[in-house]
Assembly symmetry: C2
Homo-oligomer: 347 residues x 2
């Protein structure tokens, strides 16, 4: 199925090579680590702002000092800490999962939305309505226990493959963001993922990929139901949305799960707007940053803020760009601010 998705993106298939080269060409990080906490960042306003914020909030006696317990950093995931094109990784998971389950569901061959998924009709998939996605989520994300779902995700991850970048999704994290997370943690910050994606989809890999434990992953969730099976309690995943951690849901989710206002927030799309508003409206030093996907050579370039068509995956609108300017949020140009994008592929 993914082969057909790939075919629709062959115009970008040169990227895989470019990324491998850029990854191999990246200087070893250890040599710079002590001098420069963010070696994959070019000198510029974004890097400067991050380092200044850390300096202000960690200087004892300074006016911007923040106790470690209140040093909260939040990161959107898709498009902010890892690649989100051509489709969110969780959507790739769902489509793969439909293919895996298809033999048990012969009726899917003739029933939408499954028919289009199984036929690899990406043109149709890209136009799925929310109702159609929910039908896919219902069969791929619900109807099993939380433990079974975790195992399904764990099994899928090493087999996953971004159809354009040709690497497992967990390798398509942004090296500069891994450095920021490590830098913040080394300075007493707690780092949280705050994603519109599924909380229980992210948790199985968040620690290994980002060094972020399960309890610091905030995301969207579906209803779970407490039941007994074979004398043991299980939490069954129901096909019903519980919490939508996107747009205003990100500010609500931060308050619900953390109960503290972040000091620094990283996003990349309109879904992160309220998270950055909520973060930067606090007293004292605060910083909001938005990743702009403007690097067609090394990753992707998309979105109205770039003067490109809206792809509906990770929209960074003109109005968000205007708000970023008005509120002095930093816009991170992947092209100009990042010396390296992806970590080296694992041998």
């Amino acid at each position: 199925m993914l082969r057909l998705i790939e075919n629709l993106f062959t115009r970008r298939s040169f990227l895989a090579t470019a990324i491998i080269i850029s990854g191999l060409a990246a200087a070893p990080l250890s040599a710079f680590a002590q001098q420069d906490p963010l070696p994959s960042w070019n000198e510029g306003a974004a890097k400067k702002a991050i380092i200044e914020l850390v300096g202000q909030t960690t200087t004892q006696g300074g006016s911007g000092f923040v106790v470690p317990a209140d040093r909260i950093a939040v990161f959107d995931q898709d498009g902010t800490t890892w690649a989100e094109h051509p489709l969110y990784s969780q959507a790739l998971f769902a489509l793969d999962r439909v293919a895996t389950l298809a033999p048990q569901h012969p009726e899917w061959k003739n029933a939408e939305p499954f028919k289009s998924v199984l036929a690899g009709d990406y043109a149709a998939i890209s136009k799925f309505s929310e109702k159609e996605w929910l039908e896919i989520v219902a069969v791929t994300h619900a109807g099993m226990s939380t433990a079974d779902f975790e195992q399904i995700v764990r099994d899928w991850l090493p087999k996953s493959k971004n159809p354009i970048l040709k690497r497992p999704v967990t390798e398509l994290v942004y090296q500069p963001m891994l450095e920021v997370m490590a830098y913040l943690r080394a300075n007493g910050f707690s780092t949280y993922i705050v994603t519109g994606g599924g909380q229980e989809f992210v948790r199985p890999y968040s620690d290994g990929v980002y060094g972020i434990p399960a309890e610091q992953v905030i995301g969207s969730s579906i209803v779970t139901k407490y039941e007994f099976k074979d004398g043991k309690p299980v939490l069954m995943r129901e096909p019903k949305l519980f919490f939508n951690d996107n747009f205003d849901g990100k500010a609500i989710g931060i308050n619900l799960f953390i109960g503290k206002r972040p000091i620094i927030a990283f996003g990349n799309s309109d879904g992160d707007r309220q998270m950055l508003e909520w973060t930067t409206a606090g007293d004292g030093p605060r910083l909001g940053l938005l990743v702009l996907h403007d690097d067609a050579a090394r990753e992707f370039a998309y979105g109205p803020a770039n003067g490109l068509p809206d792809t509906e995956v990770g929209t960074f609108s003109q109005s968000l760009m205007e708000e970023a300017k008005a509120r002095t949020w930093e816009v991170i140009s992947m092209k100009n601010d990042w010396a390296t994008i992806f970590p080296k592929p694992k041998p």
Copy 2:
């Protein structure tokens, strides 16, 4: 208003004196702290089980070893870490708040449930339906921003007074539980409150009272709505339940907020049953403990498990007692297991 509640409980007013005496009579803890991590606990099965569990889970190379990141301890609050009789502290807060707001609501004098609250008619209050409590919650817990609610709770706490024990609610914590929390944290455990009470009610004092930060408080919550006021974002509290962290909700909440199965769980009532089931169904060493309120002299004695009438505040049913025996959960007798109940009153 609370004066009348007190009058209904004069049969227990001798307790205040008894508690002050027991508090003053308690030996200084520091002398024993290095030898005995739980000096307010008498030797017995419960204390032994806690110390054994910590030994097993922290012994490198042992079969029960658990990495620190997975050492999760969960504590119910009402009746487990602080007194819950004659009424939950949050209910005392709500009743006080109705009295505070009454001058702005002259119509309450003739409208239930407010009429009974303002008349101090505790007999009527004790029979309030869930709908009537929700009406009280709506005016006392909603219709303001999260920041304003936090300030209201902070302002109330030092003025609060348990009508029988005659001390601010935050002083009516159980010294043995404070010791367990400190002991677990000293051994690499993360300690969480998992309460049926309001998450945002507990957070303003959880750090000061228990050493538990806001992000480790899991509780019931109401819907919040993201709005702009005077150019700044606020989260407005709506009179609508979002999450009921009680009974099965406690297992669901632990999975939702932590995403890891606890190693040890403390409760005291039927609302904690699923939390203990969920905790102790895990592999490796796990421990569930239930506080039994059997000490009429120093605190309270209530509940069917004691052969006493069900007070509907912190029910520990016969069926929970049977399950505790079947699953080898420890039952903590306040009378026999705890040498001290409350910390000394602050001077």
